[in-house]
């Protein structure tokens, strides 16, 4: 694959590079134009009194989020996080070390909000908020995928994602928003999903899928939209509607519902599980995006809400929905609200409602990529760590050949795919390729040792990211698949339950 930058060489994990100052100083995403900024309630361009506005906003956020206030104070610069970020490991730029990324804000915090920084700035490394500092914020708060890996290893639980989110919110509030994320949020407000797929196109796509499945299996598997009175509202990332490998996951969900005899529906009003309000740290926008789902559930009169394979969407759904758009007292209390598609399928398997012909997947040796937001910001099932057990149980139920990657690169130590947190855009492709390095190293190991052919994931961003970056590492883009593709391919349709 040709590229305008050096593709990292895969060596054995772990590989911690020596620091290379400013190695990624050239990397930044496109800035949002006024027509993208304004519908989200942000100024169109850099405001004149940006300095004072930014400091005011920082003060406001410090008073609003205990996380930010405590994290600004608590860091002792012990260095525990310095070799934990995939972007540092892939780029060697020291500002991609979690603590250094935090310090971009902390040094300004100290200057304006602490005694030591006000009176002895040099001593404690405090600086004024200058245009250069603001530039650094824009660059390096868009080289963090908010994956929380650093927060696992920090002795005080400092989560750089919280600081990145605050940084992006301050930037957006003075007029410097990120085009990719903010444009997508605008599309959700206007059309209902990230891809800007309008209702007729959605209906058309789903009809096409019904025909495709009929052709493949000779079974009438339905993909209903806006069906009032259905038991389940399925909210899934809009990538599932047409792109490979996502769509095979959607086919898998539909087959499971069909076989279990469950009535379900999609919604054209809430045809998107993703919520980029999370990425830009804007609780207001996050709530506004999520509210469409509550509205759709009430409108359609469903009993359950199930969320499709999407990492950050599951974080928002699992951790925030109850607070932002709850309570869910109108749903069936016998099911968790919301429920992950993997939880729902897992329960059906436990009940014996699904039968599998695992030989269907015998051409594959599968490994599983834990998605960051599922692994470190949510749960599945009723015990901590269920988010690791349940997806693997689905894979093992539908495949004969499964192996895990190296222990420190899975479960809570999993590496981000390199494209999360609002960075899945072509203007950041160098960052994305380099950030994927630790995962590629771990994958490479199981390819060599266990002849792994496929890596399954439960996140639309992971799937898109790997489709894009695998070829840079001379691996096939079709290695990455949906967990529910494996489930759907092995599921015996039409047999007696």
């Amino acid at each position: 694959m040709k590229a305008e930058f050096d593709i990292p060489v895969i060596t054995h994990y772990p590989q911690t590079p020596a620091i290379q100052v400013d190695a990624m100083v050239h990397s930044q995403p496109f800035v949002a134009k006024p027509d993208i900024q304004e519908p989200l309630g942000f100024p169109g361009e850099l405001v004149e009194d940006w300095h004072d506005k930014a400091i005011d906003k920082m003060g406001e956020l410090l008073g609003k989020y205990r996380s930010l206030q405590v994290f600004m104070d608590a860091c002792v610069k012990c260095g525990a996080c310095t070799d934990k970020c995939h972007y540092y490991l892939g780029t060697a730029d020291p500002k991609n070390m979690p603590v250094a990324r935090q310090d971009l804000m902390r040094k300004v915090y100290r200057r304006y909000f602490t005694f030591a920084g006000k009176h002895f700035p040099k001593l404690v490394g405090a600086v004024d908020l200058t245009e250069e500092v603001l530039d650094d914020w824009y660059k390096y708060y868009h080289q963090c995928s908010e994956c929380r890996r650093c927060s696992v290893y920090c002795p005080y639980g400092i989560d750089t994602a919280e600081i990145t989110m605050a940084g992006r919110e301050i930037l957006a509030s003075v007029g410097v928003g990120q085009k990719y994320s903010n444009e997508i949020i605008g599309k959700v407000f206007k059309i209902g999903n990230n891809l800007g797929l309008p209702e007729p196109a959605l209906v058309d796509t789903l009809e096409g899928l019904e025909e495709e499945v009929k052709e493949d299996t000779d079974v009438d598997v339905r993909f209903p939209v806006d069906q009032k009175g259905a038991d389940i509202l399925l909210v899934t990332p809009s990538a599932d509607f047409f792109a490979e490998p996502h769509v095979d996951g959607l086919i898998g969900y539909a087959k499971v519902f069909h076989q279990a005899g469950i009535s379900w529906t999609l919604s054209s009003h809430a045809s998107e599980a993703a919520n980029f309000g999370l990425f830009i740290g804007s609780q207001g926008n996050m709530q506004r995006v999520a509210m469409r789902i509550r509205e759709a559930a009430l409108e359609l009169g469903v009993k359950r809400i199930v969320v499709g394979e999407c990492g950050h969407a599951w974080r928002v759904a699992y951790s925030y929905w109850n607070t932002l758009i709850g309570p869910f007292d109108f749903l069936d209390p016998n099911y968790p609200a919301p429920q992950h598609i993997c939880e729902s399928t897992y329960d059906l398997i436990q009940q014996g409602a699904l039968k599998f012909n695992k030989e269907e997947n015998d051409d594959k040796v599968v490994t599983f990529h834990d998605s960051c937001n599922v692994s470190r910001a949510s749960r599945m099932g009723n015990m901590p760590g269920g988010q690791y057990v349940i997806p693997r149980a689905l894979i093992k139920a539908s495949c004969n050949h499964f192996v895990d990657m190296r222990q420190e690169t899975i479960h809570e130590g999993t590496f981000c795919c390199g494209g999360g947190g609002g960075l899945l855009t072509d203007d950041l492709v160098e960052l994305r390729v380099k950030g994927a390095l630790p995962r590629m190293q771990a994958l490479h190991e199981v390819i060599e040792e266990n002849e792994v052919t496929h890596m399954a994931a439960i996140c639309a961003i992971c799937k898109s990211q790997f489709t894009k970056v695998l070829p840079y590492y001379d691996l096939g883009m079709d290695m990455i698949i949906s967990v529910h593709q494996l489930v759907g391919d092995a599921l015996e349709l039409g047999v007696e339950r």
Partner: protein, 261 residues
Amino acid sequence: MPAYPSPQVASKVYVLVSRLKGIAVFVVSYLYAALFYLATAVLIVGVGRRILLYSRTPAPLKIPTTPAPTSTPGVVARMFREVVFFESLFKSNKWTWLFGWAFHFGLLLALLRHLRYFTDPVWSWVAFIQSAGVYAGYAMVFGLVGLWIRRLAVDRVRYISAPSDHLMLALILGIAGSGLLMKYVWHTDVVALKTYMLGLMSLQIKQLPADPMLLIHLALVICLMIIFPISKLLHAPGLFFSPTRNQADNPRERRHMPTNA
């Protein structure tokens, strides 16, 4: 021929010197008393205000780093492992963990050992740990030197270090070092010291044994107390307020609606 002072002059000089010494001890005793009262006030008020700020700042969303306990007893257990064993740091880096843990538990033991200067009669368990407390000083020095070497030798840690990060290590190393020197090289009058400390606690200024090493030791401790609420030493109260560690993972079961949000 050497000029010896006459006995009369010598005795006058002797009286003068001992008077001056008396005045110096008097001044030093009062100066350190004033500084101790000031430092104690700064420490208590400063940290108290910070704790109040942390507790009043809302945590509007559920952000525990998962997998996390699903109940309050589970959270207490997680916090206990974090505070006592430095669980997360152990996952991260064994060297930093070893040095950090040795330093902090040396410090704890040393602090407890010092309770003998503030209690009369000395509590039996404080008396019991006296001999182990000596090794605490070595553990502190071992940990601090290890952390400092890391800070200087590892390029990543050197990059993130500000002058204050080095000074903080120097300060605490100074405290531990001067303490050990007093124990083994330049002893001080610990009985007089105890009388002074007990006096301070009942608002009476007694005579402080004005040995240089003790004065250095106490001055550094006073510095540390004053710096505590305006420095990274706030990591100590901060940990207890860290939402990624102190929240239970139960957002579906219980609607998170913080009253102060």
